[in-house]
């Protein structure tokens, strides 16, 4: 009998803590340790997390395949399933299947500059790409990480990203719309204002990856287009309702494509020539 791809595998929550209010970090590992190293994925892919009795939903992977063994997610409490997930403690079991989606075309990005632009929760999937690039630093040219959040206490992975600022082989630029703490030492303003710090970029040799709230895309894309980065080298990851992750259930269909298998990573060119993508 053929394999049932809908069958999730049990995973143990090994760590969980709040990244910011209502967004929680989950680090999980297959219960069977032999399976831990067999999960191959690409930055930008997602997995279906299942709680039997509650349901199943897609979540972007936040860890990098360059650090195998553990899977990481940054999950916002937004519905019934995530509320139940938030009730789970370390060492409890959840069920996961995947990975799904095209992920970032990582091989094509080798030898290129990377501009990673994240807004709010968009840092979750882009962290995977960022960590991957840092772990394979020689494969990429300049790396810029631009991350904007509304307030300091809404910035995910803040400490981790602040530490990255000490590295000389990437430019990590963090900004908040508003500092209500008085102790914020990074930039203030929207994420597009960080573009002025990008210097001497050969646009033809650059890939940009964008993820954030829908309102952010247009402004960020304008900036990237102004930098003359080719449309097919501007990548963005999109969100849709999904039930299967395998191009079957139809919920994520947009025109001719399934977000779950043809995406969730699309190029700006895809967005332009396909209707209703964003």
């Amino acid at each position: 009998m053929s394999e049932n791809l809908y069958e999730p595998i049990p995973m143990r929550i090994v760590r969980r803590y709040d990244l910011v209010e209502n967004v929680r970090f989950f680090q999980v590992r297959p219960v069977e340790i032999e399976r831990a190293l067999t999960i191959n994925y690409k930055p930008g892919q997602f997995m279906m997390i299942s709680l039997f009795g509650v349901g199943e939903a897609p979540f972007s992977i936040s860890s990098s395949p360059s650090r195998p063994g553990l899977l990481e997610f940054g999950i916002r409490k937004i519905g019934v399933l995530t509320e139940e997930l938030f009730k789970l403690k370390e060492n409890e079991i959840i069920h996961i299947r995947g990975p799904y989606g095209n992920g970032f075309p990582i091989e094509k990005m080798y030898g290129y500059n990377l501009i990673i632009v994240a807004g709010g929760l968009g840092a979750v999937p882009l962290r995977s790409l960022l960590l991957y690039a840092l772990d394979n630093r020689d494969l990429f040219k300049k790396i810029y990480f631009l991350y904007g959040a509304r307030r300091p206490n809404e910035m995910l992975f803040l400490r981790e990203f602040l530490e990255l600022k000490e590295r000389e082989d990437l430019e990590c630029l963090l900004t908040v719309d508003k500092d209500d703490t008085g102790s914020w030492t990074e930039k203030i303003g929207v994420v597009t204002e960080l573009f002025k710090y990008l210097k001497d970029i050969d646009p033809q040799k650059t890939y940009a990856a964008v993820c954030g709230p829908p309102v952010m895309y247009r402004f960020v894309i304008d900036k990237l287009v102004n930098l003359q980065i080719p449309k097919h080298q501007i990548l963005m990851t999109l969100e849709r309702r999904m039930r299967c992750g395998m191009g079957k259930c139809g919920h994520c269909v947009i025109g001719s494509i399934y977000t779950c298998v043809d995406g969730p990573v699309f190029t700006y060119w895809d967005v332009l020539h396909m209707k209703d993508l964003i």
Partner: protein, 260 residues
């Protein structure tokens, strides 16, 4: 589940036929399981044992409010319950007894039907529970569908919210492989009505009467148009909608007027 941890649940009824509570009782195969999985604090139709003082996790309330005395009683149930659920169409939308609530004032309507004075309770216009207290969830149906009840009962025991079918009766009707009655220009309320009944009436070749209440995305203008084009007068169609949609009728029909 731990015996200590069982949720305290009460079943109550106001004006209606008790059909919803009877639906629970008549599913004998499940009755013991329902009893096993919760601490039943009150269920007058099923047991004389009850504790009217205990606080409740969940109160299931059937029937609409048709007498002043019931308002106070309902408020008391609300006060002692963490979650209050309107069970059945009367409790959710006012029920059949709200059918003529648009026709003049209540007392003249009441007196024309019952010319002799009532003394037991003080009757008022039939209204759903929501008109008086906060209702956390609705489980409509006339009567409720036991499978849908069970689905949500188990969800509530697990502290999950009530979830109703987010589609109209037509979906279930096609699953039952029925020919569409609208094709024969029979005014079937299927496309206007929330599913959950397994399309019981159309499966018996009878038009849906809308007893599960309105489907959230109903397209009334188009439904009316297709039937009016076949010489079914608006009045007749409106009457069909009024039968079970209760207090929702006003909202639905007002959208229609705005459109025109």
């Amino acid at each position: 589940m731990d015996k200590e941890k069982k949720l305290k649940i009460g079943f109550y009824e106001f004006s209606g036929c008790a059909g919803d509570l009877l639906t629970i009782i008549h599913n004998e195969d499940y009755l013991l399981k329902v009893w096993n999985s919760a601490e039943i604090i009150s269920f007058r139709l099923a047991t004389s044992k009850r504790d009217e003082k205990a606080n409740l996790d969940i109160a299931f309330v059937e029937g609409s409010i048709t007498a002043e005395e019931q308002i106070e009683e309902l408020r008391k149930i609300r006060e002692k319950s963490r979650i209050l659920i309107a069970l059945g169409t009367c409790a959710s939308f006012g029920g059949l007894q709200s059918m003529y609530s648009h026709l003049g004032d209540f007392s003249s309507r009441f007196n024309s039907i019952y010319p002799h004075k009532f003394t037991i309770l003080k009757p008022i216009e039939s209204k759903p529970l929501e008109s008086y207290v906060k209702v956390d969830y609705f489980i409509p149906g006339c009567p409720i569908d036991f499978k849908l009840f069970l689905f949500n009962f188990t969800r509530l025991l697990r502290n999950l919210p009530v979830e109703l079918p987010s589609y109209p009766v037509c979906i279930e009707c096609k699953w039952q492989e029925n020919n569409c009655l609208l094709l024969k220009k029979i005014p079937c309320l299927g496309p206007l009505t929330r599913a959950g009944c397994q399309a019981r009436c159309p499966t018996h070749n009878l038009p849906c009467v809308g007893c599960f209440g309105p489907y959230e995305d109903l397209n009334l203008p188009s439904w009316l148009k297709t039937l009016q084009e076949n010489n079914i007068p608006f009045k007749e169609l409106e009457k069909k909608i009024r039968m079970f949609f209760g207090v929702k009728v006003k909202e639905i029909l007002s959208k229609l007027k705005n459109k025109k």
